[in-house]
Amino acid sequence: MHEVGIMESAMSLVEQHAAGRERSRVSRVVLRVGVLAGVDLYALRFAFDVVSAGTLAEGADFEVEEVPVTAYCLGCEREFSGVDGDFVFACPDCGDFSGEVRRGRELELSRIELS
């Protein structure tokens, strides 16, 4: 159930940023979510509908920018991107498996749009 808690943090940030402005109706909420953030997008969407009800963001478009994985090969000292949907990160140069994730764990409120 942690998507609800995450969405509650997001909504409290949204309200902080929207309240008191000339245009304070939130028409769009955009989150950045890494594919390794451990968040279920279906659950997040559901949580948005529940948590935004009665707030300035009720009825807003909800969007997620997914951040693909970038891993790092220690041997070759290079970054490489993870293949979509595959969580085994093998360096394209040397074939070694990498456990060093540089990007792909993001979980942030990226921006909102007011109208």
């Binding site: 159930m1 942690h2 998507e3 609800v4 808690g5 995450i6 943090s9 997001a10 940030l13 940023h17 929207a18 245009r23 028409s27 769009r28 955009v30 989150l31 950045r32 390794l36 953030a37 451990g38 968040v39 279920d40 997008l41 279906y42 659950a43 997040l44 969407r45 559901f46 949580a47 478009d61 909800f62 969007e63 997620v64 920018e65 997914e66 969580f87 085994v88 093998a90 070694d96 498996f97 990498s98 456990g99 060093e100 994730v101 764990r105 993001e106 979980l107 942030e108 409120l109 990226s110 921006r111 909102i112 749009e113 007011l114 109208s115």
Partner: protein
């Protein structure tokens, strides 16, 4: 809501994934018309937990205490392993047990001289850093060198909640199948140590050990792996050896 309880199945998928460029077009359109105004925010949603985790980390460092966060599915043997560890490991330890309902786990681990406290999470399917801070208040940590945190049985939700631990341990029992690491990559990718547990029943189950080790190595090449059985005692020495090595090499246990 989370994959563990399956309640997301009914939720229609309506999330639109924007391309990198579309929002910029939207923004410039917004500036030139009376359309929506964009407010850039870029704030991590777990900032509150991350701050609390940093405070915990400072407390652990002051106490020179090694802290491990044990994560697994229900039934993978965390409680059994911790019970055995309280008997067999020779450094003073304490345990924080996160549980959804009963306090059976905490009772099973309890030993004379071992501080054990229960954290009831209610409906939450993970522990967070503030729960740990509150849970520690109920523990006499005098002289404790190792604190084990038994997280709620769940391989999804605890992944992104830093508790301030030094070592994240993910347990996988041979009863769960060889391909589990491939199904739960975020948690395995965050592991410092993977414990392959209940090895005493591996033979009876026809468990493919090589396949399991290879899957762990592919998904979590950063993690150390120890195979053990709390019941037979096999592998426990390697587990205790790992803990001792962490105590010696732990800058929190021996600050410069």
């Amino acid at each position: 809501m989370c994959r563990e309880c399956g309640c997301a199945d009914r939720v229609p998928f309506g999330v639109k994934v924007l391309s990198v460029f579309a929002p910029k077009l939207l923004q410039s359109a917004a500036r030139e018309s009376a359309g929506p105004a964009t407010v850039e925010i870029h704030t991590p949603l777990l900032a509150k937990n991350d701050d609390a985790a940093e405070r915990n980390r400072a407390v652990f460092r002051d106490r020179k205490m090694l802290v491990l966060n044990l994560i697994s599915s229900p039934g993978s043997g965390k409680t059994e392993l911790l019970s055995k560890t309280m008997d067999g490991f020779d450094e003073k330890a304490a345990v924080l047990v996160g549980d959804l309902e009963t306090d059976n786990d905490a009772r099973r681990i309890h030993r004379p001289g071992v501080p054990v406290a229960q954290i009831t999470t209610g409906t939450a399917c993970h522990l967070d850093a503030e729960m740990i801070a509150r849970g520690m208040e109920g523990l006499d940590l005098d002289g404790v060198r190792v604190l084990f945190i038994e997280n709620v049985g769940n391989l999804v939700c605890p992944a992104e909640f830093d508790l301030g631990e030094k070592i994240r341990v993910v347990l996988l029992s041979v009863t769960e199948g060889e391909d589990k690491p491939l199904k739960y990559p975020p948690i395995f990718k965050s592991a410092d140590l993977v414990l392959l547990t209940k090895t005493d029943v591996a033979g009876a189950l026809g468990f493919d050990r090589q396949a399991a080790l290879s899957n762990i190595a592919r998904v979590a090449p950063q993690a150390e792996v120890i195979e053990l059985s709390a019941r037979s005692g096999e592998g426990l020495d390697a587990w205790y050896g790992f803990l001792r090595k962490q105590l010696v090499g732990n800058p929190e246990a021996a600050p410069a």
